[in-house]
Symmetry: C2
Subunit: 81 residues, 2 copies
Amino acid sequence: MKAYVYVSFKKSVLDPQGKTIQGALKKMGYKGLAEVRQGKYFEITLDGGLTRTEAEAEVTRIAHEVLTNPVIEECRVSLDE
Amino acid sequence: MKAYVYVSFKKSVLDPQGKTIQGALKKMGYKGLAEVRQGKYFEITLDGGLTRTEAEAEVTRIAHEVLTNPVIEECRVSLDE
């Protein structure tokens, strides 16, 4: 089973890296971009010893306790077969 | 319209950052993890001047030409309303 955790800055937090990428893309001639924001993602492969419910709980716990800084970041967890 | 680009190392490329996270999580007592890999993701907001097909083409071009290093990375693009 695989789990994916997506971590990005909260909407209220400035994302200078995203802004820089957006500026660079605009200068390079790419069109139609209103905003670019950058985040991280984690692909977690589980060893099969947990049920789906347990796995989801464990990954959500990891996402909130370790992978995300709750002051400035938010996260999203998704589970896959 | 929003587009998401997910960039990660190719399966054949070692991911020391992911390995470090996996080791740390194991030491912290989290169970059931077989592998952790880390990647980046980009959330691109489009300004509405492009049709869905044009937007998909433009974002795919950006993903392959700018956001991904094709030697060691692979990318996945998804489009949203």
